[in-house]
Symmetry: C2
Subunit: 96 residues, 2 copies
């Protein structure tokens, strides 16, 4: 497996719009081959630098990249002004 | 439970030092009351913006804050020049 972590910097007042867009992406991606699970995290503090962080599991990097390609082509959700997302694939190197 | 996500920006060539420091912190924190688990993630791509991301579970915000206070007082690991860590507590708002 591989872990997708997407770190969001959310402009003031755009949190609900960001969550709605995330839900549209989830609804698309959960149908895609290789999808395993996802958890969207929101900071307890409203002024955290990274207000939303998504942690998802995929069977392989290739499955994830293909699914993202199809999602972008399908234009599943609108661009949100000022929202910065930094997605990257990770592996767990220490677990306890 | 509550989730601690610590997002690390790691300067070129400081990755091993950052992991060693993280291990020292883990060894201290795993003894603390309220600690549940932790997973350190490393990006598949070496030039990801956030090279290391830790995702840990704690029983409560108070347990986590108290443990961090004790760790800082104990000066468990050296400061690493240029390493930026952004820890924050999160709750899961969407799971799938």
């Amino acid at each position: 497996d591989v872990t997708l972590i997407n770190v969001f910097e959310v402009p003031q007042g755009r949190e609900e719009a960001a969550i709605t867009a995330w839900e549209a992406a989830r609804d698309f991606l959960r149908q895609e081959p290789g999808y395993i699970s996802t958890e969207l995290h929101r900071s307890l503090s409203p002024d955290a630098r990274f207000r939303l962080i998504n942690v998802a599991k995929w069977q392989s990097p290739a499955a994830f990249e293909a699914a993202i390609g199809r999602m972008q082509a399908a234009e599943v959700f609108p661009r949100i002004e000022g929202l910065v997302s930094t997605p990257a694939l990770y592996s767990v190197i220490r677990a306890d």
